[in-house]
Amino acid sequence: MARSFDVKTQPGFALIAAFCFAALYLPIAVLVIYAFNAGESIAVWEGFSLRWFVTAMSNTAVQEAALRSVVIAVFAASIATVAATMAALATTRQGTYPGLSFKYAVLNQPLMIPEIVTAVALLIVFSRIKVWTGYTGLGYLIAAHTAFCIPFAYLPIRARLESMDSALEAAAADLYASPWQAFRRITLPLLKPGIMAGFMLAFVISLDDVVITEFVKSGGQETLPTYMLGQLRRVVTPEINAIATVFLAFSVLIVIMFFFVNRRKA
């Protein structure tokens, strides 16, 4: 019985799988290959060179955008992780109560509302605040990124908490640990892999965002993705491939770390 349901035995499975992988990875492979092109074209191969990497790295606009991206991601992911940890504790450690599913819905709102809608809403609200306060710094981008990072940070933390035996916290309380001590000494150390995974996920999500950033940013606040988008509207050289390749390598590294951290047993 079970065998006949195994999709791997269905005819054409290998073909479809191969097609899907090709559709996913071939364009990326092409992009990466042309990052090493010696010529000016992203379509005609003229030999191997690292010149575009050098160009990109020494481009101050790229440097600034990359730094800005990282700053925003660090702040947004940190704040989101703290908020998500508190949210996860509140939603898994008090049993079920009326309004719990409403809280889930509110927490996961950024996953459900179309990003463009959030972006337009933030644009309107923030522009009003900018007029009132005169503040035009990175705070708006950090606030916006924090908001949509929370559900991503929340998921692995909640998963970790749910798989954690709540008798451990009861045992700590039984052994004279105050609620704060029990949290510090037992819950937090056991939760750490989940929190780190949540942080990394939030970090990557923030790093990658285009739509909301494009709407919320003030003039001169390009992040790496919005800078790249801007470049595509002009002459396209393999410099963009080089930036994308470095970006890709960085993201893949974080995702690998995410899996590593998330799989580690406490």
Binding site: A171, A173, D174, L175
Partner: protein
């Protein structure tokens, strides 16, 4: 409890405690107006079928739940509303709940550290506890690197380390295999003797309760049915539930013929008269249930002087003893158990007419 002179010698005094889950009215009444006194230094067992409220009572004493009504005193002091970390009471959890990121020694030290004891004292106590549970070689292992029985010992040591006034144990042996379980029963008894700490032990295994306890409270459906020593519970069950739950019992409907002091003469099915123990405050006339343990009766040839008569319907040999099932002429099946020995062979065969002779002073009159 009323059978004690003062509350001073009680470690735990539970009086009139009820616990309703889900809020009154309409909530679930897990404990219904329970009163029980647990004496200092005794091994006290809560015994009862699944769902009768044993864990709930333990959690109320530990502080993980708060009573809906009633009081819980610890050496005379009302602790009913204190949070768990302010009660000098420790728990051995059924799942052990050892901290997986700490070593064996760190687990044992945890309570003492939370109490703010000096480092030297913590070290000494941890060493003493490791020796007490014979776990010295494992002190630096993580708790997932030791066996189930060893985890059990660490859980015990961890709960004993802060020298609680009362130790609560919720079915601590249920995850162990039979042989280890027997070993740990002896071990627990030894630890209780050596430490002199009051143990409140939860189990639904009646054999475990009988072998380990100084006193037992038999619970069912949120009520305490009887509190007594193992032999009081076994030999003098207070009601039919207790007699049925603890060990095997034959129940016969009988009628009180006459009463003398704490005994009654019962008329059993078939007309035979038997002297029966009558619990305090029981009724003195009318219909009752006669409870007789299988080992308190002998099989005799038909026509011999036996009160009950019937047909032998089944013989079950089980090594040390044999069970004879007798279909009584005027009642239900009656089981007789005899101890086996090589030179003591009863020559009965299935289908034969037999009599049953009940031992003297071994009948208990119970109200239904």
């Amino acid at each position: 409890m009323t059978d004690l002179p003062s509350t001073q010698e009680l470690a735990i005094d539970v009086s009139g405690v009820s616990k309703v889950f889900g809020g009154e009215p309409g909530g679930f009444r897990a404990l219904d107006n329970i009163s029980v006194g647990i004496r200092n230094n005794e091994f006290f067992t809560l015994l009862g079928p699944s769902g009768c409220g044993k864990t709930t009572l333990l959690r109320l004493i530990a502080g993980f739940e708060y009573p809906t009504s009633g009081k819980i005193l610890l050496h005379g002091e009302d602790i009913g509303l204190l949070p768990p970390y302010k009660r000098p009471v420790n728990t051995v959890f059924q799942s052990y709940a050892l901290f997986p990121h700490l070593t064996v020694a760190q687990n044992i030290a945890f309570g003492l550290e939370m109490l703010g004891r000096p480092a030297a004292e913590v070290r000494d106590t941890v060493d003493r506890m490791l020796a007490l549970v014979k776990m010295e070689p494992m002190r630096d292992r993580l708790t997932n690197q030791i066996s189930g029985g060893q985890q059990q010992r660490v859980a015990l040591a961890r709960a004993l380390a802060p020298s609680p006034k009362v130790l609560l144990l919720d079915e601590p042996l249920s995850a162990l295999d039979y042989k280890l379980r027997k070993e740990m029963q002896i071990e627990l008894k030894r630890l209780q003797n050596e430490t002199g700490i009051t143990f409140i032990f939860v189990t639904h295994d009646q054999e475990e309760a009988l072998t380990m306890s100084d006193r037992i409270a038999v619970m069912s459906a949120g009520l305490i049915r009887q509190v007594g020593t193992p032999s009081e519970i076994y030999d003098r069950p207070a009601d039919r539930f207790v007699a049925d739950f603890i060990g095997e019992t034959n129940f016969l409907s009988a009628e009180i013929d006459s009463v003398l002091e704490d005994h009654a003469i019962l008329r059993l099915p078939g007309g035979g008269l038997e002297k029966a123990f009558l619990p305090k405050g029981a009724k003195t006339s009318g219909k009752v249930t006669a409870a007789i343990r299988p080992e308190h009766a002998d099989l005799v040839p038909e026509g011999a002087d036996g009160g009950l008569r019937g047909t032998l319907s089944n013989i079950i040999y089980s090594g040390s003893s044999t069970h004879y099932h007798v279909r009584l002429h005027d009642g239900p099946d009656f089981v007789v158990r005899t101890q086996n020995s090589p030179d003591n062979k009863l020559e009965f065969s299935v289908g034969q007419a037999v009599g049953v002779r009940v031992h003297d002073r071994c009948v208990q009159a119970l109200e239904d």
